[in-house]
Amino acid sequence: MSFPWAKQYEPKLPLTRWLDERLPVPRLVYNSLGGGYPVPRNLNYFWNFGVLAGAALAIQIITGIVLAMHYAANGAVAFDSVESIMRDVNAGWFLRYAHANGASMFFIVVYTHIFRGLYYGSYKAPREMVWLLGVTIFLLMMATAFMGYVLPWGQMSFWGAQVITGFFSAIPLVGDTIRIWLLGGFAPDNAALNRFFSLHYLLPFVIAGVIILHIWALHIPGSNNPTGVDVKGEQDTVPFHPYYTAKDGFGLGIFLLIFASLLFFFPNYLGHPDNYIPANPLSTPAHIVPEWYFWPFYAILRAFTADFILPAKLWGVLAMFGSILLLFFLPWLDSSPVRSMNYRPKARIAFWVLVADILVLGYCGGAPANAFYVILSQICAAYYFAHFLIILPIISRSERPRPLPNSITEAVLNKQGGTSPAHTALKPASAH
């Protein structure tokens, strides 16, 4: 479905006409990413990140498929096969560094995309399904990234796998049995490495499938926008192509610029040196840390240091999974009818506190587990849960939102809700 004023696909060539009558793939593309998809005219640069996430996934799949042609998923040779990719495969170093840093870029983009959704209320009716599918994609990404990090079979690969699969042993009674069943042994070994490789190859295609559903669900109500106000008429929208394809082209360029700087000049900056040491089950690294994109969740896990009814470890695991699963309930926790935080003075403050809170959690998750960082993690983890489960539901009922513009066009003409965040964030709404 789309807005009634959406342009219709008109095949011009005999071939495309023939195709359109039999398998209308060009029509599908036209309606979803072409001139047939009307999009609010006032989107800012934060709306580039959906397309960028798609590009990042494509980069991961392409580099990953070629890497898999050279990689051997066997504990005895996995580490050396990765080094042979680095040394002996033509441009192998490029493939591997692109894939490793591509994962980081994917997470940077997706985190920005998620926070964009949180700030502008993109999770609210009628886009709940878009949000639910998005959180599903995020969970799949985390599983894929974790299993991918195990494949080089370095020290952090091995001990990361040990720690993460150890979560399951926190389940009462059957925990250890489940852990051993998942690993195919008492500790990570060949069986685990092989199944992780199999799943690491499978899940990206599952992600691609859920992305199709994500875009499908998005196209029913259409894209949100910085004012959060519904599209009222044709004057509020522009066709996706050429307007947003052109803008996304520029965004993609900037993305590639940052990606290339990382890949070619600081390829190991985001990695851990210990993963250049082959896996050794008999030698535990001094600090086991996951990749940076898991740090906030790792900090939440480590914040639970006290037994209370349940053992501390089980609390930590529940909280860590809970910290993501609660996002599934967000559309119903935040009952404010106003989407954009630009018009929600209190919720906006809570949002920025949350951003700072998660950054601090991330820092703590990457730091050694000494008393100072544990205390900091405990405070920040408490705010994290309080924000979503207590504060936001209360604010959404008690706060008085500022007046909304009557339409997107009105906001644009009054220079509010424009493309620049300065316009959307700083101008008081009472100006018109």
Binding site: W93, V238, G253, P273, Y276
Partner: protein, 280 residues
Amino acid sequence: MVRLIASIVGAAFVLVLGIALFGSVAGVITDPVAPTAESVAHKHPKELELASNGVFGKFDRRQLQRGFQVYKEVCAACHSLRLVSFRDLQKIGYSEPEVKAIASQWVIEQPSINPETGEPATRKNIPSDRFPSPFANEVAARAANNNALPPDLSLITKAREEGTAYVHSLLTGYTKQPAALLKEFPDIKTPEGLHYNPYFANLNIAMPPPLTSDGQVTYADGTKPTMEQMSTDVSAFLTWTAEPNLEARHAAGFASIIFILLFCGLAWGAYQNVWRDVKH
């Protein structure tokens, strides 16, 4: 209903975190963390200027050759270089006949079998061989080294924090255990068979000082072989063994960045052109 359950769950997590926080704070107050010898004496690697540093970095091939000589004459007695092949030496400026000669004259031979009897045997190295390990296996390596295992050096500069500087600092960082430190922590006296080195994580390393005097190797190019020089050279060589494609990577990086900048310029122009009549 959702909000009610959520607030209960939220309150539960906050409560448990509050209890944990209370325990942590109480722990800090009643049982403050005492400084350890490592936290007091462990040193951060010294800065090391190398031609390969930075985004414009390139290898200094004469330095790599000197570093290789240090590896060959000093380190190779105990440390393997199992991911590097003799043929790779051509990339640091040795000619094909030179590489052949280096391989065939290498002291440790390549494990092999006797072609007639099938008994284990050794043969001379050829350029396509990886550098052979000085020890047959881990047990042999530990037996010969006071139960310590000399790590493989192929990736050492990437396998340690600030690896290149770390290797250089470690090699030149051996010193007598400071008396003040010993006074503060009487029970950390360096045990027999270990050596005090403030750049090593736990301060006591099994490796005896490998570079002990100036002139330990004789450089063919006339460079004065001071300890500082030998250590710098071998650190440069081990940077190359860990990242042999560094120069190709930097070159490809510059080409890519220029290409992407052009792309960005065109894309920006297209974006502005498409949107010129739409207020947004």
